[in-house]
Structure formats: C-alpha cells, structure tokens
Symmetry: C2
Subunit: 413 residues, 2 copies
C-alpha cells in the first residue's frame, strides 16, 4: 500500500534523518525527499523513489528544497526564558573586573532576577519569553525546554509556569515547561535551605503537579546553593510525587551532583563543567543524558565542558543554550553547536546529533522529536547551504532558510 | 548661524558618539539627537536642543529612534572575503582530529583556497563577497577591509582586487581593498620564498599601484611562511612604492613580527595571539594599531589574544573578524565584541571603541569613520535595545534594528 501524504519536500541535497545510521548516526540521505502527513514524517528516501512509495494527491503541497541541506529542528533542552528583566549591567560589571561577591553585594545574581521577576507583570514575562522564542525559531530551534526558577515562591513560580503554558499555545514551537523552584534559596529562607526544600516539597510541588503545568523538576546542586544531600532528598520526594527529574550538576565545583542525578534516575544532568573522571564513567553507564551548555563557559570565561571525554566514555550527550539573563544570554543553538565542535572536541556529526536526538532524549521526547523518521514530528530546518558541515562552520550567522514545525512553514528568511 | 540638516534622528535613548569623552571615550549622550547633511554628521546633542542649533527644513527627514541605542557602524578592519569556495570539509576534518599537516596533505589550507580561487569565475568571487557583505551589514558593519591573497599570481591577484573595487561600488558599505599577495608562498615558488618576494616587489606591487586598486599591502609573517627578514624587506620595498602597511604578526609563534611592523611604521599589526611581553610594550609605545581577531582563536581552539595586557600597556587596540574560508568563517562583529569582553578582558566600552574608532584607525580612516562627531561619515546603527551594554551581552543574535551608511537607510529588520 502506498503512503498518503499531504506535504512533500523534494530535491533535498542532504537530508539528515538522524535515524542512527552512518557517521555518528546522522542517517545522511542525498538527493532525498521527505513526506509528511498530519504533521508527522511518513516517509523519507531517495527523491527518485518518491512516487513509487507515496501517493501524491491533487492537494498535496509539493515544495522544492533546491538542493539544500535539511535537518531536524534543534531541541534546546535547557533554557530559563521566564524572567522580568535582563542583566547586562552585571555583565558589564563582570567585564570591568567585579567579582561574583561584588556583583552579589550590588544586588546582582539570581536573586536579582527573582526580585525583578516577582515584580514583573505577566505581560512583560510573556513578551520576554515570546521575543526570545521567536529569535530561537529564526535559529532553527523547534523544541524548547523552559524553566521557572526566578520566582522562588508559590505565587510567582505558578505564575511563570502558567505563562509558559499560555505561550506554548501561541508559538509554533513545542515548549516543555520545567519547575525549578530549587534554583536558589530565596531571601525569605536565607540560611535555611533545608526548610526551603521542605516548603517546596510540601507546598509548591503538589500544586505544580495538581495543575499539571510541569513534567520535570530541576534543582541547582552547587556549593553555596543546595548540597548533594538536599538535592537527593528533593529529587526522591519529587519522584514520589510523579515528576521526572533534571539537575544542574557539577557546574562550578565537583560536588558530586552527577552521581546524585544518576542514583535518582534523572533524565538529564546538566552543565558538568567540573565533573570528575569517575562521574564521567558513572553517567556514561547510566541512562541519564549529559547535557552540556558551552555557551555558559564562554560567557563566564570558564573551562569548556569535557565533551570529548563524555563521548569517548559512551555517554549520551545533549547540547543546549542555557539561555538565561545572568550567566548566558545566548539563544543560538547554531553557536552552541559551533562551540561544541571548536572547543569541546565534538565532530560535526556528533554535535548535530547532540543538538537534536539527544536533546529530545533529555526531555523524554526520544520517540517524537529530534529525528526525521517515520512517526516523528515533522519539525525541520531547510538550510541555505548544500553541505551540512557548513552549519557549525559558519560562525555567528546561521544559514537558516526555512523552518517547519509539525509540517507547517513557520519561519523563512 | 544655525546648522542646515537634511536628515535628523531624534529620540535616541543612548547615543555613543565615540568622541573621546567619558568611560573609554564612548562619548555617551542620553535623550539625544543626531543631524546629518550630505552624508556627514553635522551635529549631535541633547534632543531638546535640536531646534536651537539646527534648521529643520520642510524637506528634512525626521526619524525617531524610539529611545533606542545608536552607535557608529562597526569597522571590520581585517577580512579575506575574496575566495572561490568555502572549506567546511577541512573544518570537519579538524574537528575529527586531523592535524594541520594531515589537512595540508589532503590538499587543504590556504593553497586549497588559492587553487579554488584561481579557477573560480569572476561571478562566483563577486557573489561570495557580496553575500557576506550583506550578512555583515545585517550585523551592523558599515566599513569592511577586504584582502586579496588567494590568487598569489599577477592575474588572480589583480582580478580579485578589481572585483573588490567593483563590489565596493555596488554595496552600501565602504570597502577598503588590501593587496595580500604575500599571504603564502604559491606552489610555483615552493621552497623559494625570497624569489616570490622579489616577484611581488618587481612584478605585482607596481601593477597594483599603477591601477590604484589597493592602498595597503599585507604580509603573513609566520614560521613556515615568511620570515621577519623577508617581511621587513617586503614592507620596506612596499613603502618605497607608496603603499601603507599591514602585517599578520605573531599569530601561532612569537617570531617578532610585531617588532618588524613597528619598525616599518605599519598602520596595524594583526592577530598577536603569541606576542611577547616585550613586543606588547613596543607596539603600545608606537603608532601601530594592534588588531585582535578573537574569532580565529575560538575557531582554531587557540589561546585568546592578550587584549587586557595590550590595553593596560596603552596600545591602540582594534577588533576585527578575520572573516576567511579557512581559519575563521565568522562575519559577525557583534560576536567578536562579545569574545573581546568575555575572553580577552575588555570592558564593554573598550570593546565598542576597538570595534569602531580603532578599527577606523587601523585603516587610516580615523578622520572619517568610527565616530559620530561633526564631519564624520554618518554610518550608524540603531539597535533594538535601550542599553548599549546589551550589544555584547546578547550572545549569538545581534539586536540590530536599522543600519545607515552616509545618512541613508540601507538595512532594517
């Protein structure tokens, strides 16, 4: 039986299906075509075989890619886009030599964003999020995780997640909200992190669950924020409450957060700038995705994460932007892919797989996103180039031509 | 007498005149206006004083900046945009662990570009250059230096400079062509660099001068390319022939190229990744501009250039992209400004001055470009932000709203 299709992209010079075959699994097809029905990929193959396998109906939309590269849309699995104001003032202070302590003393850091997020109107929060989602779309990003975590109280955290849900319904991309009440200890609980964890577990998590506004929780396990013990306790309770888990681990110090994540069965452990050799092997042997955020290393002038070591150890490695107003105001997945190649030892193919397939796995979407194979969502990018290696090679200005979400054209240059 | 003006930009939230006053000389005016006549800046000041000083005629075009930031356009004083083909294949080989020698053995490197540039049609060379100039414009770059140097023979070098001249007449930006026949030793002169230098001095330089198609010459002083002695000889002869001088110095090895540049009175010495402490002080005490290209360090995973040390020593430091198909396929000045801040120790203000005022000085245009003061060309960018510190803070996606060259709107988002 031939396949019915309502949209076909023909004359694709290079189609990266990411089907697991070929170098690093990119599943490269040349002179290819891609057929879509009801927003899902229904067939990919050689352009000349299209009519053999697919029924082109009178109303099937047929578009030529003109010999261009087509890839799955990027899956940005770690962002903090719910904030009240940007922090370019702190960026400039840091550039002028101010220390973290000096910036904090001047009212800076995460708690600065908390103050400005609590006082921001819903309209401002929504506008900030939409503005950057729109930029992300123009950079080829079709799925975006969106963390709360600049509220740190019941009202603001719920408000941010509700806004994320509202925005999700109004943008072309797929948005996955994550509850990150455990981003920092708020002023109301200063010096009492355990009590704040209790509060989250007993007061906030249940409300988030009840409203069904986040599938994941996330926590910042770091010296001066939450200890590995507090992290483990929060993750265990969240698991019992039915949440999937994420963690900010081993970013500035090797506190062993990765081991906590693996033990708790977290879907991903993120940052890992300071991960130990031991924990590289631990995460490689686990199902937890190692999510690297090289833009943050660049932004903060820290050593880049050990991508090559994690890949060589066999870890599933995702790449994401960490877009946030403090430590990485970067909404470009193409730049992140370049940084992975130029600074973290990825091959071009590994970087593209990490930014698509593994990003999807880091969100539990490995059956729906990140690949262009039968049954997956038809989220893809037509690039203004004929060689996929150009994607990270062209530094600073991505060659995105057209972006499709679930088979619909949602952006073009 | 009041000032006549044919174009006025009003309601500028922050105008960076770069007049030498204030922090690092950015000359910040708030609630400002900018008046233009015949493509030149004729007045800047407080918006409320506009009518006091300027005559607004019936046909004066009046535009509101809506409270946005306005800066001079970027001056990208070091690029190689005249090439026949891109080299993403070598980029991918390097990412997969190939050494420089392995890439060269596979036909890679500058000589690969030479082969592909010699065989390229004029239409292809022109199209490549125009394509990237157009991207540069969308990134706020209004003046671009353009080197030849992928021809390495009389015919191709002249052809490339002629194309640069033709393109210069067809794009909105100001283009400054530079003759870089001494980019590498061509295969015809393999092992005979001194004879190639003789050839350039006696055969090619005079023709370039005669045709008036380049004001500067440039030479790659590097281990395995041209020695400091060969460089000094070429620069001395070029000076005698009436050229201004540029040099690729101390990029991979500290060969002392900077000292050669200073002694020869070069307008700029570029790269300087490996400059010695001694030569940092030497260039700081000279009139030679130190041009840094941090995109290349990022692209090649080399240590970033010692920006802070050069600034502290008192050097005039310019920032540029080094856009080229091999070692830095980056056409984004905003990214370079970010790298200067995040990786090279610049303050935000210093980075912006280096990318405008000092870029102009590196091209001998310090009386015409890089500032928005009376008599200077009205090349400026209206940014989609209200705080100039956002320019480097927003990593990967520049907030360019509108670009003007000599008072004419030539790009808008």
């Amino acid at each position: 039986m031939r396949i019915r299709t309502d949209f076909v992209l023909r004359d694709i010079g290079q189609l990266l299906t990411m089907d697991g075959n070929g170098s690093a699994g990119i599943g490269l097809l040349t002179h290819a075509a891609l057929a879509v029905s009801d927003g899902k990929v229904v067939w990919t193959g050689s352009d000349k075989d299209l009519e053999t396998y697919c029924t082109l109906q009178s109303d099937t939309e047929i578009v030529s890619a003109g010999g261009s590269v087509v890839t799955p849309g990027f899956v940005d699995s770690h962002t903090h886009p719910l904030f009240g104001a940007t922090r370019q003032d702190e960026f400039a202070m840091r550039a002028a030599g101010a220390t973290y302590q000096e910036i904090a003393a001047a009212g800076g850091g995460i708690l600065n964003s908390v103050k400005r997020t609590r006082s921001a109107s819903a309209a401002v929060l929504e506008e900030n999020m939409k503005h950057h989602l729109s930029i992300m779309l123009s950079n080829g990003t079709t799925t975006v995780e969106a963390k709360s975590g600049y509220g740190l109280d019941l009202i603001t955290e719920l408000r941010c997640l509700e806004i994320a849900g509202k925005v999700a319904g109004e943008v072309p991309q797929t948005i996955i909200p994550t509850f990150m009440g455990a981003h920092e200890v708020p002023v109301e609980f200063k010096g009492r992190p355990d009590e704040y964890i209790d509060y989250l577990i007993s007061e906030v998590n249940p409300r988030v669950k009840e409203q069904g506004i986040a599938e994941f929780v996330d926590i910042f396990c770091e010296k001066g924020v939450f200890t590995p013990e507090q992290t483990a306790r929060y993750l265990a309770a969240s698991t019992d409450q039915g949440f999937a888990l994420k963690i900010h681990a081993d970013e500035f110090y090797d506190t062993g957060g990765t081991a906590v994540a693996v033990k708790a069965g977290a879907t991903s452990a993120d940052h890992l700038l300071s991960i130990s050799e031991e924990n590289i092997h631990l995460i490689a042997e686990s199902k937890t995705v190692a999510t690297l955020l090289p833009g943050t290393a660049l932004f903060l002038n820290k050593p880049f994460p050990p991508g090559r070591k994690l890949l060589d150890a066999g870890a599933s490695v995702a790449l994401a932007t960490d877009f946030n107003p403090g430590s990485c105001f970067c909404d470009s997945m193409p730049l992140v892919v370049n940084l992975a190649v130029c600074q973290c030892g990825f091959t071009v193919e590994e970087a593209l797989v990490s930014a698509t397939v593994n990003g999807a796995a880091a969100l539990g979407l490995e059956k729906h996103k990140g690949r262009l194979v039968k049954g997956f969502d038809a989220d893809f990018v037509v690039w203004n180039c004929a060689d996929f290696r150009t994607i990270p090679y062209h530094l600073g200005n991505p060659d995105v031509a057209v972006v499709y979400c679930t088979g619909l054209k949602v952006y073009s240059t």
